[in-house]
Amino acid sequence: MLLQIKNLHVSINGKEILKGVNLEVNKGEVHAIMGPNGTGKSTLAAVVAGKEGYEITQGEILFNGKDISEMPPEVRAQEGIFLGFQYPVEIPGVSMTNFMRTALNEIRRYHGEEPIAAKEFLARMAEKKALVEINSKLTNRSVNEGFSGGEKKKNEIFQMAMLEPKLAILDETDSGLDIDALRIVANGVNKLKTSENATIVITHYQRLLDYIVPDFVHVLFEGEVVLSGGKELALELEEKGYDWIKKEIEKP
């Protein structure tokens, strides 16, 4: 099993956001986590990636059988966890090329590998740029600086392609995308899918799931996974709305 989240309780400043989340993800699987706003989806993604400021009060997060809950974010990344940010950060003055080469080499060093040769690196950049249909000029610029919303999201998938993680968590990657960008982003994700890696897609809408077809859909509501099912669950949600979930839960 790649990722195993057991009874995870998480608080921010003493306020409990996740109230006992359970989730299991295997290699080769695509999971979708859906749910209304403010229900803890982004918190779950951030906690798995190791962002500071969250307190795990109960439960554990296992990745490849290892408890990662005390690992710094870079070690989790080196272990193979990638977070596609809902709001990618602009970093003026750091070139995309330099950023990716540094990241790739640190990950390689963690696994006892030599730094990537310049020629190989450039070839990889070119190949992955084509995969996400990203404009060549963007990678010559500073990280996300002056990128449009769509470009930023494409850039997240480009980085995912470059780093080849075992588990990618894509946090609201579809938000703010027009239909063309959405198709490109989804295509990228689909092409990167192998039997060895897994993807968790966090989304508010069913729309993205027309392009990235999940094996499992989970509904996160008020800090808990209240419903899990196959891809048809997403359609049912779309049709009936989140109020339906509320009613389902409130049934005695």
Partner: protein
């Protein structure tokens, strides 16, 4: 002042130094006797600056001035100087290199040269002899002595410095690089004096390096006067990397005619105490000044940037951007004074000082200061002090980059806003590389120097005399 005499050893020696300078160089500076005497009197009236003065309230010279400095006034043995002087290894920087050593201009055959394009480069004292009219027209006209003790002291005591003259309509392609080193004796007090004249429509790039190549204590008081003719353009870079025992007061006084362009940048990489003063005055409309700086300080280092822009006429633009990163107990000071005089309508003046403070013991005193007497102007100022952006830190670390390297990347990027504007490609690469090394703690004071003092015997080098 009476108290100071007891505590500042240098003060007791100044008359003696003055006599030596006047006696030795009486011939070379025959036209200057009166000015020197006047400047000495000004200095005696002012004394060394102290913290009660508004301009010095955050920079304390007490420790710096507590040492018993020596001023070297005897003639420089050129061969010794040539043996000790070093070349800068800024890669591929095709520059015309000149050296100052213990306040003297180092030369092999002739102290002053006329380059192919008519640009005159050489020793200021030689220029006094050769071009007296040109010099007296400008010397001492921009670096004021009546309210600036270090300018007064410099005028009274300087021995030599760099002189550059760019004739009308000449675009000087090759940058001139001035390397100042203070030599190998202990506690030396050096007064460098430079004069740079750009005639109408001319262009020049100049790199002014202050370096140490050992750990001996020194105090340098460097004064540079620059006059920009109509539509002249100067790119000026100060690169400062001196040892922690040494102090540097580096003043720049510029006068700008109409439509002239000043682009001056200072990069303070290391030093015990460094104070850069930048003063520019717009004398003609349509002139522009970009004044930028990066300073990196740690341990007990003290960095002070003082900028004064005098918008004396309408329709001029000034832009200031200073960025600093402070670690350990470092202390930095920034004061940017913009004066917009009554008639200087349509002035655009912007000022920004941004700081990253890495510890709670490091300190910055930043004071943007606008003094505006015209009513149709656009001026702004801003100062920020902060830590590294946490969301950016997480973003970078999430890609697998360690905390240390993430910090490094962000600090480097912070400085890049200034460094990426460097107009000389090889210099930009070199400074960015030096900043990287400095942030990693790998920068040595010898980093530009081929004469690595820790292992001097391993280096045999020859100066290419054709370059001097």
């Amino acid at each position: 002042m009476s108290q100071e005499i007891n505590t500042i050893p240098a003060l007791n020696k100044i008359s003696q130094w003055f006599d030596a300078v006047v006696e030795k160089d009486g011939k070379a500076f025959s036209g200057l006797q009166k000015e020197r005497t006047l400047a000495l009197a000004e200095f005696k009236r002012l004394g060394f600056p102290h913290k009660k003065l508004e301009k010095w309230r955050n920079t304390d010279l007490k420790t710096v001035l507590s040492f018993d400095y020596t001023m070297v006034s005897e003639d420089l043995q050129m061969q010794d100087a040539l043996d000790e002087v070093f070349e800068c290894d800024i890669n591929d920087l095709d520059a015309f290199v000149v050296n100052l050593y213990k306040g003297r201009f180092v030369y092999n055959e002739s102290p002053i040269y006329t380059l192919k394009d008519g640009v005159i480069v050489g020793s200021l004292s030689a220029a006094f002899d050769k071009y007296p009219e040109l010099i007296t027209k400008h010397f001492g006209k921009y670096a004021k002595t009546e309210n600036n003790a270090f300018n007064a002291l410099n005028t009274a005591l300087f021995l030599d410095g760099l002189f550059v003259y760019v004739p009308k309509n000449i675009i000087s392609e090759k940058p001139i690089q001035l390397i100042n080193a203070v030599g190998t004796i202990n506690d030396v007090f050096v007064q460098n004096r430079n004069l740079i004249i750009l005639e109408e429509n001319s262009q020049l790039k100049i790199i002014q390096c202050d370096d140490s190549y050992n750990y001996k204590r020194s105090l340098t008081n460097s004064v540079t006067e620059i006059v920009l003719g109509a539509n002249a353009s100067l790119d000026h870079y100060r690169l400062q990397n001196i040892n922690n025992n040494s102090s540097l007061i580096n003043s720049l006084a510029v006068e700008q005619a109409r439509d002239s362009r000043l682009n001056t940048n200072s990069f303070i990489l290391n030093g015990g105490l460094i104070r850069n003063e930048t003063y520019t005055k717009f004398n003609g409309e349509g002139a522009n000044a970009d004044i930028r700086g990066v300073y990196l300080a740690d341990k007990n280092q003290h960095i002070d940037n003082q900028v004064y822009v005098d918008h004396a006429v309408p329709n001029c633009t000034s832009n200031e951007l200073f960025k600093g990163i402070l670690d350990d107990y470092a202390h930095a000071v920034f004061k940017g004074h913009i004066l917009v005089r009554k008639d200087a309508q349509k002035t655009l003046a912007f000022q920004n000082n941004a700081n990253i403070i890495l510890t709670d013991k490091a300190m910055i005193n930043t004071k943007p200061f606008l003094e505006i007497y015209a009513d149709d102007v656009k001026c702004s100022h801003g100062a920020t002090v902060g830590q590294l952006d946490e969301s950016a830190m997480f973003y970078i670390r999430q890609r697998g980059i360690s905390e240390d390297n993430a910090r490094m990347l962000l600090m480097y990027a912070f400085a890049a806003e200034v460094t990426q504007e460097i107009e000389i490609d090889s210099l930009r690469d070199r400074i960015q590389d030096m900043i990287k090394k400095r942030l990693r703690g790998e920068l040595s004071i010898c980093d530009q120097c081929v004469l690595q003092c820790s292992t001097p015997e391993e280096y045999n080098f020859e100066i290419d005399m054709s370059k001097i």
